[in-house]
Amino acid sequence: MEKVHAVEFKGITKRFGSNVANDNINLYLDKGVIMSLLGENGSGKTTLMNMLAGIYFPDEGEILIDGKPVAITSPKDAFDNKIGMIHQHFKLVDIFTATENIVLGLKDEKYDLKAATARVREICDRYGFDIDLNKKIYEMSVSEKQTVEIVKVLYRGADILILDEPTAVLTPQEIEKLFFVLRAMRQDGKAIILITHKLNEVLSVSDVVAVLRKGQHIATVRTAETDEQKLTEMMVGHAVKLDIDRLDPKDVKPRLSIKDLTCKDKEGVVKLDHASFVANGGEILGIAGIAGSGQKELLEAIAGLRKVDEGSILYTPDDAPAAELVGKTPMEIKEAGVALAFVPEDRLGMGLVGGMGMTENMMLRSWNKGKGIFVDRKAPEELAEKVYDFLEVVTPSIDYPVRKLSGGNVQKVLVGREIASEPSVLMSAYAVRGLDINTSYVIYNLMSAQKAKGVAVIFVGEDLDVLLELCDRILVLCGGKVSGVVDARTTSKDELGLLMTKVGGKEEN
């Protein structure tokens, strides 16, 4: 007789329009095993897991839990089958405590917070969760919120846990803590699936790795029998060079001098608190920090998109006196001759117009040029052709709405346009988020090429390994303050991790 698996996918296919997100996937997972589900963005990892969690329903094939076929049509069905998924975006009530969130929505038992707290406490002790159960969610760090989410699914009796990119928002130290509890859960016989695209994590925590590529299940291998290079090849389909060429900076000179920059949001909360630093031409300045530490506000303030409450941004061109950017609108900054390029985090909501084609998106930079009431289409069209050829954008035509392109191609259009403006300052926020490995390296190389041209590149990133390899200096933000600026060639991930959680830039001891 066949062995009964905790979860088994049999011939699962899921289509979105003509796009086959999952193509005849056969995969199983046993109890007491941590499996990494590895694949590039768009390879179908999250789609597959969403079918297990009851968010999507497969077009073909069936899912077996403990050997029995089940139909999971809702998240409730998933819970009934003891499946719990921890999503990237947490679903917690901000003004409730940890315990209140954990017991929230459970119908079949009496609302007895005391008894519930005791049971939650018991779960925490068993797996080594370190959390204050009476703390309100809005007072919690991202890592603590994630812990609440995990305890929540355990409390509901989940035996199969799915974690979607759980480490994306954590510092290296927090990642270690998470892996510790994952191992404790494995010991307890839980089946755990980790959706990820980070190879070092795969190798350090999981027992088996299932690799997906373009919706297909390529292979499942034992972690002990593989390495980063092999996994990458399976994931991408061909050998990839995983190094970034980092040239030594030449001709470094101050380009942007930022002093005491302070920004508040609409509610008056300080998002950027007296940040001071210098971005040099001919250098890549990396910006690290937990999500929401003021990265977005910093770049938007420099670009003139956000009101500055205090401080100054001094721009020093090669051949003219320094100019103050604070108080200028984006158009005034442009008219003052400041060649500022900005690749914002929200590509389709800010950097591009999703419903328009490449040509019209190129126009976003040039629409105001020239006299007369008509907009010049010729130059942007030529630029679109150029970007199309140079960056090998995959699109049916340069008039095809960019919203319908893949994430990598959308980013190529955006970065291509910004670089074509021949900037002297190039800012990018999470430039490779959601991109496949090949496109990511295209972007890294474009950044390096800009640096070689003497551009001051500011690169906000989330992958510390990349920041360490790509940048010359790394500035770390924590709670809106600059907690340190370090030399990327000599620092370590641990040092960055500590700076990311350090308050106010002061040493802890």
Partner: protein, 360 residues
């Protein structure tokens, strides 16, 4: 698959060829006509006879046809006015009031100043005033939105009733003709738009306007700003656009054209001013605008179609004793079918048990 599989599931479609899209839209129109047949059957009328009467009544005779054109002019003009607003996702549903205010502006000169100038000058002054009045009426909500973030949908809607109320007051007060009549006297001949081909010259103006609006929306810097702002305000700011300026300017343009339509209605169609001068054109034009998917040239056809329906239905009322509100019902059914079919253009349905292998 088992019995817990959902009975119908929806899946997003990939791009459909243009020809198929138009086939579906054509099918939706036919379906609307067929549903219309049911309505006629319910009211004990032979649908063929009914549709025949509508077509003959609207297109069969010269007088009927002229009436159709007369009805189509304000619909087309107002739909053109709304197009840039809707492209900007600025929901101006105050066209009715902007038309009314335009008519007020034009009427002032028609009633009070007609002796002071020759007809061409008077008509020009009336036209310009109507544009200014309409624009003014539209700028108020746009200003509030830009400055304080008020909701333009409610604001423009409420402005309609104020405008209509103002005319009601003029009718019974300062501009009243015979005391107690509640009627504003007819305009002097000098203040009436000349006719071309039996219909006031407004039809030529709106046709020219169609071309102008098409060019404006597709080839000018203003048109580009409007399109970007409509897609995303953040992108507009990022591209260095002045959001408040674009919003107010576009609203003013829209209101100005509505005002001009009001001038045509007062001077060309009615030769006087009364509180229902817009006659619902400001609302029906929203339908025209959407059915045409904001394409100015398609608006010509839609405005014409709706005008045929409304004229035909009034003939229907006299010859077959069917209430002319049947035209509103038909318009509603057409709108429902046309907008509903967009769903089938974007999604397809999968029924339980169908393992569709083909990439539909």
């Amino acid at each position: 698959m088992n019995e817990k599989t959902p009975f119908i599931r929806l899946a997003k479609r990939e791009d459909m060829p243009k020809s198929k899209v138009w086939l579906i839209r054509g099918g939706a129109f036919v379906l609307a006509i067929l549903i219309g047949c049911l309505i006629f059957l319910i009211s004990d009328t032979n649908p063929f006879k009914a549709y025949g009467t509508i077509l003959m009544g609207a297109l069969g005779k010269k007088t009927g046809f002229r009436q159709v054109i007369k009805n189509a002019v304000p619909l087309l003009g107002t739909a053109l006015a709304l197009a840039p607003c809707f492209r900007m996702k600025y929901w101006n549903i105050g066209a009715e009031g902007q038309i009314t205010m335009g008519a007020v502006g034009a009427s002032f000169f028609a009633l009070k100043m007609y002796e002071a100038m020759p007809s061409p000058v008077l008509l020009t002054v009336m036209g310009v005033t109507s544009i200014l009045f309409g624009a003014f009426w539209a700028i108020i909500p746009a200003l509030f939105k830009s400055r304080w973030g008020t909701n333009e949908t409610l604001f423009t809607l409420m402005m309609n009733y104020i405008a209509i109320g103002i005319v009601g007051w003029l009718q019974g007060g300062p501009w009243e003709g015979k005391p107690g009549s509640q009627i504003i006297p007819l305009f002097d001949e000098k203040a009436v738009l000349p006719k071309v081909g039996g219909v006031h010259i407004g039809w030529i103006i709106v046709l020219l306007l169609t071309v102008v609006m098409y060019v404006y929306m597709n080839y000018t810097k203003h048109g580009y700003e409007v399109a970007v702002l409509g897609e995303s305000e953040n992108t507009a700011v990022y591209a260095g656009m002045n959001v408040a300026k674009v919003t107010i300017r576009t609203a003013a343009l829209s209101g100005g054209i509505c005002g001009l339509v009001g001038f045509m209605l007062a001077s060309g169609t009615n030769q006087t001013l009364y509180s229902d001068v817009a006659g619902g054109a400001g609302f029906t034009a929203i339908t025209v605008c959407w059915l045409a998917q904001l394409n100015p040239f398609a608006m010509i056809a839609i405005a014409f179609l709706l005008a045929v329906l409304s004229k035909g239905a009034s003939v229907l009322q006299t010859s077959l004793a069917i209430p002319s509100s049947i035209s509103d019902i038909l318009t509603g059914i057409i709108l429902l079918c046309m907008l509903g079919c967009e769903f089938f253009i974007n999604y397809r349905m999968i029924f339980r048990g169908h393992h569709e292998k083909e990439a539909a």
